[in-house]
Symmetry: C4
Subunit: 230 residues, 4 copies
């Protein structure tokens, strides 16, 4: 994240204006909503420790995302713990570093034209992404809950949830994410092995819905014995 350095002066002047401008209002609204989502996910145990990270697109031209800073308790996020980031992961509003996984958020926003990206790190996704890693993904089929995924009209839909090997090299991992999105058009999320879920939506409400649906289905699989028999 060496690109995030910039002058303190510029940062301060941006901060002073953050509430007055239209973009400042969009930023504050997105941050407020992301903090609410984080609180709910933390209560469910989906973003324990400092795991998980969340972003929302607040401008398309130029591309701007509100995104969580790195290393925070996602259950009690404050407005000043969010950053505004441009298309190259530079911080253009707020203080601190964006999450190390900011490049994955950008890859997803570009790859599927998402308006919001949510990354959770639940027990269910950690268990299943380990037990099913050798199969390259998890097939979800026959569940009514699938109908809640955008564009899905029947429980007979077969959703493929790819599992990518985890990595600490975000450039390399971001490339693999982009390739996965191209190779599997129409997917609604993917797993990083023993790491967690990435999903997205046109907006935050849709992305939150996708988190609930995919976390639910992974819990169903584990409780059905899938982790033991994989």
């Amino acid at each position: 994240m060496k690109k995030t350095r910039r002058s303190g002066n510029r940062r301060n002047s941006l901060k002073a204006n953050s509430r007055k401008s239209p973009s400042g209002t969009r930023f504050a609204e997105a941050a407020t909503r992301l903090a609410e989502i984080g609180k709910g996910f933390h209560a469910r145990g989906w973003v324990l420790g400092t795991s998980g990270n969340f972003s929302a697109v607040i401008s398309r031209e130029p591309l701007r995302l509100a995104i969580t800073s790195t290393g925070l308790d996602k259950g009690s996020l404050a407005l000043e713990q969010f950053l505004e980031m441009d298309e190259a992961a530079n911080v253009v509003r707020g203080e601190g570093r964006p999450s190390a996984e900011a490049l994955l958020h950008l890859a997803i926003v570009r790859g599927v034209d998402a308006g919001a990206v949510l990354h959770t790190h639940s027990v269910w996704s950690t268990v299943l992404s380990g037990s099913h890693a050798s199969q390259g993904g998890i097939a979800l089929e026959g569940y009514e809950m699938l109908k809640g995924l955008e564009g899905v009209g029947t429980h007979k839909h077969r959703e493929w949830l790819p599992i990518l090997e985890n990595s600490q090299d975000m450039v390399e991992l971001g490339d693999r994410v982009s390739k996965t999105l191209r190779a599997s058009p129409g997917i609604h999320g993917f797993l990083l092995r023993e790491h967690g879920l990435y999903t997205w939506g046109a907006g935050l409400q849709q992305a939150k819905r996708h988190v609930e649906i995919l976390e639910f289905l992974m819990e169903v699989l584990v409780r059905s014995g899938a982790a033991q028999s994989a």
Copy 2:
């Protein structure tokens, strides 16, 4: 749900009157109570995504139900997200479409003279309705908790919880629901395969109690190993 079209003028005039009339009061009271129930169920993970739907009879002659609109987060329902529906699933108050499963609610209200119908979509019901589908249902017997079901006086009661194949054709599925209610008099609920639970009661309090009891008993079965040995 093509029957739900009606003029904007009629809708608006109904809406303006919704709080003043006795039926408007009953509608608002039912909606308020259903929203509370939804919030509690969402916290327990029984209506994640936009799953689940709820209704309450607010008039018998003519038949009128307060029912959730389709596609909503059941954890944060607002009064304006409820509809009033007549005996043919026409919307007579409020905006939006009723849940796709409105016809099932009507089939239940007519079939067992219910005053409230609650549909939850838990991990437990999804797991068990899959593992026991080939048996056509689940037998619950010997549990003290059964005594909480209306009309049951001993833990020795044997409750049959039928499992119906899931479908997206609500007319066809509604017919199968009606047949099941006639074929199994005295049941307190049924499952749709890999979809969830429908239960009901004379009123909302009783229907909520039935949800808690049947969800509890399904969790007991899964934790006793029933899903693996089915």
Copy 3:
């Protein structure tokens, strides 16, 4: 519970005085505390449906208990849903019937000189009391958590948690409870088969602690695989 009939006049006059007298104050305090406990237990899923019941001794001479009425949602108890009951299970304050299991509360209060009796009905106790019924009880040994039971000073303590066959005949079951308490001095609770846990304490705080400890240990056993291997 045929003993509970009494004149409406006497009931009303008692009610009017309930807050002013010292015993009325003790009754109201106990009811308030029991309602709080009920709310917490309901949130944990330990008293779903209308399961569970709670009592506290508010006078020894003569014996008087504050106890929940029958058939209530234990997550939202109001003061007027509690009764004061004498040593013969007659209602001497409040309206409604005491829980059908009032005779078990009295048997425990007399048998071990308890000041409070709490009955929960969790998934864990339902599963284990079924899987271990043929063994007549469950042995708990080696757990540090045992030290929280009153009078226990080491994790090496062996706690025997008897399992009694369930019954709807409360006179008969009350007799068996009394015999169990005499036959197993020093126990801190017992299970009714596929029904739930009874535990107690010198006061409400101690009884609540015993619920948390015994429910915890039963969850440990189930998650350790005890239900499958019994």
Copy 4:
């Protein structure tokens, strides 16, 4: 804990001054934060009964810790239920006895220079510390969640979580804790067999993060089947 006797006069005068002095402010701040943490952990079921205990260093020279009194419900701690303790486990502020395990807190503070020590007592740690006792510990490797442990930079990190036999002799157990910390430099926590987790951090926020991470990873192991196959 016989060292904790001291005159009532000294205690009272200390108490009167507790809010005005700088050390009193630090004590009150630490106690407030520990109470919040306790409430959250109790809600998750990690400190049921009166299990668990928490401390924070409020002064290094001389060494002073704010620590929970013994035998309390950790879900509703009040300021007056905290004690200030010196390097010899003498109480120098507040009333009551420190937790029996105060000597373990001191051993950890000295052994790893911790600023806060948190002890939880979850189902997960109880199950795993029993099933893996013969192996002397649990290896955690490959999980992204490990990166949240202070100083860990990759999921490929191998964390060793030692399991110590439980004991009621705190002097003896404190010695074994000190030896374990010397023998396994760099560990972030340890388990007491069928008792629970001890972890720590430079401050309370870090220690709380370590609790969430280690409890999460133990839950992952149990749900992956580790308890059965150990």
